[in-house]
């Protein structure tokens, strides 16, 4: 009974690294358009998804996040700095492999391309990701 209650009360904490030019703008648009999404994310603006150091992601997980969202511009052509998003994509793929070896569910880290006009997509992603993490449960690091 206790465990079930814990899960029902559990509100996942998501750190979202959002690139200034696309994903963060998309998040702003969601806000301005009054689209609803769960308040579980803590948005952090970065100039480009290519600025996201995998160390940030590990730090976030270590410091209490149950999930990490990376938001960047669509490949192949939307990145304001030309190819920063490709770096994020490739690093993310390798980080997932690493997380698996560490025994952490790699789906706790999610990468999405969200353009400045995709306010709706943004709110949908946050909703889905929050639901997923709620079901999965908190990240309990040893």
């Amino acid at each position: 009974m206790e465990a079930v209650k814990e899960k029902e009360d559990f509100e996942p904490r998501i750190t979202a690294f959002l690139c200034r030019w696309c994903a963060y703008a998309g998040a702003d648009l969601a806000g301005v358009s009054r689209l609803e999404y769960p308040p579980n994310i803590i948005p952090i603006m970065v100039p480009c998804s290519g600025r996201i150091d995998p160390q940030f992601i590990l730090l976030a997980l270590k410091n209490g996040s149950d999930g990490v969202l990376i938001g960047g511009c669509h490949t192949p052509n939307d990145c304001h700095y030309i190819s920063g998003n490709f770096k994020a994509l490739k690093r993310f793929a390798l980080l997932r492999k690493y997380l698996k070896q560490l025994g952490i569910n790699p789906n706790r880290v999610r990468l999405e391309w969200i353009s400045a006009t995709e306010g709706k997509k943004f709110s949908q992603v946050v909703k889905e990701f929050t639901e997923f993490l709620k079901k999965l449960g908190p990240l309990k690091l040893r």
């Binding site: 995998p54 490949t75 770096k87 793929a93 492999k97 690493y98 560490l102 999965l136």
Partner: protein, 330 residues
């Protein structure tokens, strides 16, 4: 009359390589011996634990190896209490070292494999050493493992770090000069010093580096000939040069083998595996990113086998996440 420096050399979980490295000062060893009063070094001298416990005012306590058992924990504390400057000597003491890979499993599992499941072991009663064991009322229990393997600075304050697996002669020489400066002129080394400098291996690597390094596919070292003149990364071979401190003489590179990072990272790195994930993934098809689909790029990246065992082979206990987790699967 020049002052004698009091030194103690104490080992945690060590392979013995650092002891041999100090002995491999060769002729210089006699200079070291002439200026120092070595009060504990179990590999070379006969002082026992009781002698170490009686010591006071050791100038330099050198700790080799990582913390893997309660005995090591105790020795680290004994040494810290009795010495002025505590040195983490070698990659194990600084970062956990190779035995840190033991953190991929809980102690019981490591034990089970060694004493029960290996094919030549015959142990029908499933005896595992380390439990309480007495003979005629005499306690002969072996020291237990600590829950996880740890570098020295996770259990006591460390003053000086000498990186290397093992540290090279030049680093040990530099360290020795530091000791003598203290003995002769009272010049105290700065606490937190890393005896190695701040650059990475790529800076001292003798190979040709192209203007841009791009990796089209990854090759493991057995797959084909390795060109001894070109940058290894440019040949698609994983080399940890970018994330390894330049404190060796690029010995492995000169032997035509890629760097595996045994000297540890440069300063100010929080998690070396994460840093290298950033480097190596970025280089995949860096000239052709826009010509390939997301899936094609991911496929190449996923060719990399065993990121944990390759990027954190010597430093896992010092990582941001430094032990195997048991997270839920869907």
């Amino acid at each position: 009359m020049k002052k004698q420096v009091k030194i103690a050399i104490v080992a945690g979980a060590s392979c013995g390589g650092c002891d041999v490295a100090i002995a491999n000062l060769h002729e210089r060893l006699l200079d070291v011996v002439a200026r120092s009063d070595i009060v504990f070094w179990h590999t070379i001298a006969d002082f026992k634990k009781e002698d170490l416990e009686k010591q006071r005012n050791i100038d330099f306590g050198i700790f080799i190896g990582s913390i893997r058992t309660e005995e090591h924990l105790e020795l680290a504390k004994i040494l810290r209490e009795r010495c002025n400057f505590l040195i983490a000597f070698g990659t194990c003491a600084c970062f956990g070292g190779m035995f840190g890979l033991g953190n991929v499993a809980e102690r019981y599992e490591l034990l089970k494999v060694g004493y029960i499941t290996t094919p030549s072991t015959e142990n029908p009663r499933e005896v595992i050493p380390g439990n309480k064991f007495e003979v005629n009322g005499v306690d002969l229990t072996l020291p237990r493992l600590t829950e996880w393997c740890m570098p020295l600075n996770k259990v006591v304050n460390v003053d000086i770090f000498v990186q290397g697996c093992p540290p090279i002669e030049e680093a040990i020489d530099k360290f020795y000069e530091t000791i003598i400066a203290y003995a002769d002129n009272g010049v105290a080394p700065e606490r937190g010093t890393v005896i190695a400098g701040g650059k990475t291996l790529c800076d001292i690597c003798p190979r040709e580096k192209p203007e841009k390094i791009t990796i089209k596919r990854f090759r493991r070292v057995h797959e084909g000939p390795i060109d001894p003149n070109k940058c290894l990364l440019a040949q698609g071979i994983i080399c940890l040069g970018p994330i390894t401190i330049a404190a060796c003489n690029a010995a492995c590179i000169r032997a035509n083998m890629p760097c595996r990072g045994c000297f540890g990272p440069p300063p100010d790195v929080l998690d070396r595996a994460a840093k290298f994930i950033s480097t190596i993934a970025s280089l995949v098809e860096i000239e052709n990113e826009k010509l390939l689909s997301d899936e094609e790029l991911i496929k190449i990246v996923e060719e990399i086998e065993d990121p944990l065992g390759t990027f954190h082979r010597f430093t896992f206990p010092s990582g941001l996440i430094n032990k195997k987790q048991e997270d839920a699967e869907e």
